[in-house]
Amino acid sequence: MEKIFQKISLSSASLVFVILIGIFITLFNASKPAIDEFGFNFITDARWNEEVPLDDAKKAPASVEINLDDMDFASNDEILLDDDMLLDESGDDDILFDEEDSQTKTVYGGLIPIVGTLLTTAIALAFALPIAMGIAVFLAEIAPKNISHPVGIAIELLAAIPSIIFGMWGLYYFAPIVADLVGGYQVSLLTAGLVLGIMILPFMAAITRDSMNTTPDVLKESAYAMGATKFEVIKDIIFPYSKVGIIGSIILALGRALGETMAVAFLIGSIFSLPQAINDPTISIPVAMANNFGEASGLGESSLFYLALILFVISFGVISFAKLYFLKGAK
């Protein structure tokens, strides 16, 4: 009996391992056709579901420069938006046209969703970070216990609200206000990033508060005894002491933001075009999957699996980095 129980528990623990390996292998296999076809150029190719003459297909358009800082994307805004996924049923077979162009084929490139994912995450972090730090400081240091407890629960409830609710609320109530203030479209990188920021806010605040709470009272008290103000104690004692945990919480929140689907799906606009400005609509990897998976087939479907694989590898990397380097001692 003892032996059996031990075996069962060992095998269910190993299930985690099996599932993760399984996810990786399955995604890799399913994206194999796209990987074979496009290779690593997929990552830098901004054409999604475009018909191009056969000889152009192999090379990605030359002049796509990504400059994440000033959001200035060089050229290549003339991307044909092809909503009709049924067009590419033929998969990777070359399509013969009787007209003067001899041969064309459909090309898929992942640049736009990858850029969209990274930019929305960056906006979300930039927005959430200061507020989350403020909330954590408020909960850990400023508020008396009888206020910080209910406020803490309220902030955690914000995290419990399903993401689809954030999406609907964001689309119909939050985005119009942002669009009025900033101008531009209601569905855009900016509004998607901001709502994403609101979603990761409680998560970040909670972990930051917890690591701040690990600062020994003795340290704080000695600083106060030296005449330090509360801000100085926070800046010079608590932050340095809990720095590692705080950075870990930021990276974990980043990992969450990368893979968030539903809230972004409502707000990002879901079109395959590189954003020229922060209030332009675009698309992210999860949204590209959410909207196109059902209808895709052949090479289109395989390209979506390729995107999923890229997302999985990025978020796996980010999260394990946070776990191994920053949150080792946590718990």
């Binding site: 031990q6 399984g22 609710i165």
Partner: protein, 268 residues
């Protein structure tokens, strides 16, 4: 000057807490106004095809319930392994992997289940939806069980062993019993989380307008239907989506608060 800076920073920090609360309040008030406006008890009696939500709510619960039936025991036993049997590198690796899996993008899990179940079986099904939710739930339950068992004092285990009980007896009769409340809270929170999930269901279960108990067919899902309805141009569909969101949020927050309430009573 120092005092001034101190005041400003403390004020900013309090302000950010108010911003956080403000967003929560804004979302909840919106939901209440829009949701209650289109809420009607007949929503619970009709299926989506007749403008109600009955089949969707039941469908969502069935899938989450099956996910729980699979995920909770597996997760608990795995958590027991990590805390009670596992020693050294292997257990640690599994613990880290399970944490990573907890944060894995849910849409990727959907894609995985799509590849291993939906493609081979030829179509979306409630079964595939339940499997994706179970995969989402597993690491959360493992994590909770692991953490809660670590709070059980070693002396309890030693006392059990000293009485001649075998190790698994000690675990089941003593350790689990001692950590019961914490584990239950964790499970409730995990359930609250997966019942509001949409992304892993989008192309595994899809949704259905009709009432069905057949897990081999496309299965009604509240969250997926909210997404579909909210994107439709007609005002009436969107109102229905708001009513559904209202019901979903109330459900999720109630389960969540129940979980917290249990722990709090225990600690008093």
């Amino acid at each position: 000057m120092r005092l001034l800076i101190n005041k400003i920073i403390l004020a900013l920090s309090t302000l950010s807490a108010l911003i956080g609360l403000g967003f929560l309040g804004w979302i909840l008030i919106t939901l209440f106004i829009k949701g209650l406006g289109s809420f009607h008890f007949s929503l619970f009696l009709n299926d989506l095809i007749d403008g109600g939500l009955r089949n969707l709510i039941i469908g969502q619960f069935i899938m989450a319930g099956i996910a729980g039936l699979v995920g909770i025991p597996l997760g608990m036993v795995a958590g027991i392994y990590l805390r009670e049997y596992g020693r050294g590198r292997y257990a640690n690796t599994i613990r880290n992997l399970s944490d990573i899996m907890m944060s894995a993008p849910s849409i990727v899990i959907g894609a995985f289940v799509y590849a291993i179940i939906v493609i081979p079986t030829g179509g979306t099904s409630g079964f595939a939806g339940a499997v994706s939710l179970a995969i989402m739930m597993l690491p959360i339950v493992i994590n909770t069980t692991d953490n809660m068992l670590s709070l059980v004092p070693k002396e309890l285990r030693e006392a059990g062993i000293a009485l001649g009980a075998s190790k698994y007896k000690v675990i089941i009769d003593i350790v689990i019993r001692a950590a019961k409340v914490g584990i239950m809270t964790g499970i409730l929170l995990a359930f609250a989380r997966i019942i509001g999930e949409t992304a892993p269901l989008l192309f595994t279960s899809e949704t259905s307008n009709y009432f069905t108990m057949d897990l081999t067919q496309s299965f009604p899902s509240l969250t997926v239907s909210i997404y579909d309805l909210a994107n439709e141009p007609e005002e009436s569909s969107r109102d229905l989506a708001w009513a559904a969101s209202f019901i979903l949020t109330v459900l999720v927050l109630c389960i969540n608060l129940t979980g917290r309430f249990i722990t709090r009573n225990k600690n008093k």
